[in-house]
């Protein structure tokens, strides 16, 4: 439960006074709070734990760690559906 999952930041934006981003993990994209790694930019790889980026990593490390988590069956939290606020359409997620 304490493992963080690496992903690629595809978008950064401010929402409700918080620095947020969309982060892509394999085939899934989730919203993540970037307040703890404020220097993050689009294209960076970050380690995300329960919706919060906690550190930046390089691309190779991100790939290796993702693969290791996949093998350990430690990616199931990404299956939990995203909570969409009423009146919005999953900020940044709608095409």
């Amino acid at each position: 439960m304490c493992l963080a999952i690496p992903g690629r930041v595809t978008e950064t934006f401010a929402k409700g006074g918080m620095l947020m981003g969309r982060v892509q993990f394999g085939g899934v994209t989730r919203e993540a709070c970037l307040e703890y790694v404020p220097e993050t930019q689009t294209g960076d790889y970050v380690l995300v734990h329960v919706g919060f980026a906690i550190s930046r990593v390089n691309e190779e490390e991100a790939r290796r760690t993702y693969q290791a988590l996949l093998e350990l069956d430690q990616l199931t939290e990404l299956d939990v559906p995203e909570v969409v606020e009423p009146g919005t359409f999953g900020q940044g997620g709608s095409e």
């Binding site: 439960m1 329960v50 939990v80 606020e85």
Partner: protein, 379 residues
């Protein structure tokens, strides 16, 4: 179990194992602290690769496992209320309390929701102004910044119908408690990588010096664990006791400062009870007074519930590295992940559950049978 050549980096793995073998002069007991590491060790058979005499024991680093039964029962009492939407990470749903688990409560009509992030609770609270949204805030240092942000944002935005049930524990006090026990066998530690990504590893330094024990902050991949073990053995053999960082590609000594700052503004250190282990002084977080309106224990004033682990369960000794799952007569017989009797069986990251998931309950039987057969042969 896996053999060396099955590892993606089999050559590097065997080089590390050879080096451990070449420098080792006596047996050593080393504990990995994080449940993610335990899972990786058992799944990949890393402990079987190590030379005889290097024993890995499995520490208390699974937050689901160490959440006390009383707290589970409190969560269930709150979750049963009709005015409550109870939110939790998925791994807490199957943990049995005195009467059933969160799934049972859901099937009886309780509004239980699995969330990906604590921030989801803020969205749910806004969408349901006539309900109280309660989040089960379980976890180690890695998860605390997320829970701190939930509470801090709720207060800032004036969202009043959200609160958290805090069951936060900290790694360094649990290591100190293990080292202080008169029965302690652990001589070196693999420190938890992703916990230290938040906290850094400064706070491990006085402990390593005081107890003269090497602590190597380590990742969770098999090669990390082998490398971390090598670094601990090198220190033990040289009579050194320092904090070293095997996982420098992820973290540094200082950790994540913005996260530490917010955590310190929302939480303060408190005594906490650990399932299987008992109370450890200053071993967790509670909400600061300024955030009392977000404390589910205060809002719902749930009464203390007295609970007890079954006598047969030795999970407390397993969590401290004194025993292994095979030493428990209930392991894999009356105690299984479907019917867990104790702390280390309730989550996939607990030692008993990991041993069971990878068939080690069958191994023990096989060894017993072989031993019996050889005795029979000798008679």
């Amino acid at each position: 179990m896996k053999y060396l050549d099955e590892y993606r980096d089999g050559k590097i793995a065997s080089r590390i194992v050879d080096e451990i073998r070449s420098i080792q002069t006596k047996p050593w007991v080393i504990m990995e602290v994080c449940g993610g590491q335990t899972h990786s060790i058992v799944k990949n058979g890393v402990d079987y690769l190590l030379p005889r005499g290097i024993e890995l024991v499995h520490g208390p680093g699974c937050p689901v496992c160490v959440t006390p039964l009383e707290m589970i029962d409190k969560a269930h009492a709150i979750a049963r209320r009709p005015d409550v939407i109870f939110c939790s990470f998925g791994d807490m749903l199957r943990v049995p309390g005195s009467e059933g688990d969160l799934f049972t409560i859901k099937s009886e009509g309780g509004d239980i929701r699995v969330v990906y992030s604590p921030l989801d609770c803020l969205k749910i609270a806004r969408a349901n102004p006539d309900k109280q949204v309660v989040f089960f805030a379980v976890g180690f240092e890695t998860t605390a910044p997320a829970n701190a942000m939930l509470v801090s944002r709720a207060k800032q935005d004036g969202v009043r119908n959200v609160s958290i049930l805090v069951s936060h524990v900290l790694v360094p006090p649990s290591i100190a408690a293990i080292l202080q026990s008169p029965q302690n066998r652990v001589q070196g530690f693999l420190g938890p990588g992703h916990v230290c990504a938040i906290m850094g590893y400064r706070e491990y330094e006085p402990m390593s010096a005081r107890f003269k024990v090497p602590i190597v902050i380590t990742g969770f991949e098999p090669l990390d664990i082998l490398q971390g073990t090598l670094m601990v053995v090198r220190q033990l053999e040289a009579g050194r006791a320092e904090v070293e960082n095997e996982y420098s590609r992820i973290l540094d000594r200082e950790g994540n400062r913005p996260a530490q700052k917010l955590v310190a503004s929302v939480f303060e250190i408190a005594d906490r009870k650990w399932r299987g282990v008992g109370s450890i002084p200053k071993s967790g977080y509670k909400l600061r007074w300024e955030y009392r309106d977000y404390d589910a224990e205060k809002i719902f004033s749930v009464k203390e519930i007295d609970t007890r682990e079954p006598e047969i369960c030795i999970s407390g000794r397993i969590l401290r590295g004194i025993k292994k799952p095979h030493d428990c007569p209930a392991f894999g017989t009356v105690c299984t992940p479907q019917h867990p009797l104790g702390a280390t069986m309730v989550s996939a990251e607990g030692a008993c559950a990991a041993y069971y998931a990878y068939g080690r309950h069958l191994e023990s039987k096989r060894e017993e049978l072989e031993a019996m057969a050889s005795l029979g042969g000798a008679a």
